[in-house]
Symmetry: C2
Subunit: 120 residues, 2 copies
């Protein structure tokens, strides 16, 4: 395991909220919310490695994710047990909030072009 | 009402989390969670007015609080209905998390001096 993970009792609400107050990191949370470990290269295809490395660090240092080396990559997973024990209900509320906001985004996207009759 | 409040649909999760990822603003949230309006001068006695003005702005612009002029002061209240409608369960989970963390702090504080027998 990479060294800089806080112990469960060191996880601070302030750091968790600051870490997740960012759309890319919230997107990463939503992917990891599915459970299990994901290789760091597979989570957000198309985002540069250096950008992602910064995001993994913020998420790891705040106590939101586990990060462990595996071959030439890192595997990432959500610290669900630690977060649920420390802040009951918070993680699920955050994931639901992120999902509902992302759903609105999708809906807005699907509205593009609506109201323009085809061939008019 | 002061002008810069976002409309309910403009409240962004990212902004709410960034606003609350700060111990002073989380403390303000806990005070306002009791309900009703509070005058801005009464919420955190001992903190300078200019510091608080900055915190009110962040909380207001992110959609966490209402702020309205009342005589020479402002009255503040939590936008509970808007936040609950937009992100169900999130506000209560955040308030509970802040409370449990503050409780740990209090518990740690009350331990000061324990283990030192009086008069030893």
């Amino acid at each position: 395991m990479i060294a800089q993970h806080p112990e469960p009792h060191q996880i601070r609400l302030e750091n968790v909220l600051t870490a997740l107050g960012n759309p890319t990191r919230m997107q990463i949370l939503r992917v990891l919310a599915g459970g299990g470990e994901q290789s760091c290269g597979s989570i957000l295809p198309g985002v540069s490695k250096s950008t992602l490395t910064r995001h993994w660090r913020v998420l790891r240092d705040s106590g939101v994710i586990w990060q462990r080396p595996y071959g030439r990559e890192n595997l990432l997973s959500l610290r669900r047990e630690d977060l649920d024990a420390r802040f009951p209900g918070l993680l699920d509320a955050l994931i639901a909030a992120a999902g509902s906001e992302a759903g609105e985004g999708d809906a807005a996207g699907s509205e593009v072009g609506e109201g323009e009759p085809v061939g008019a």
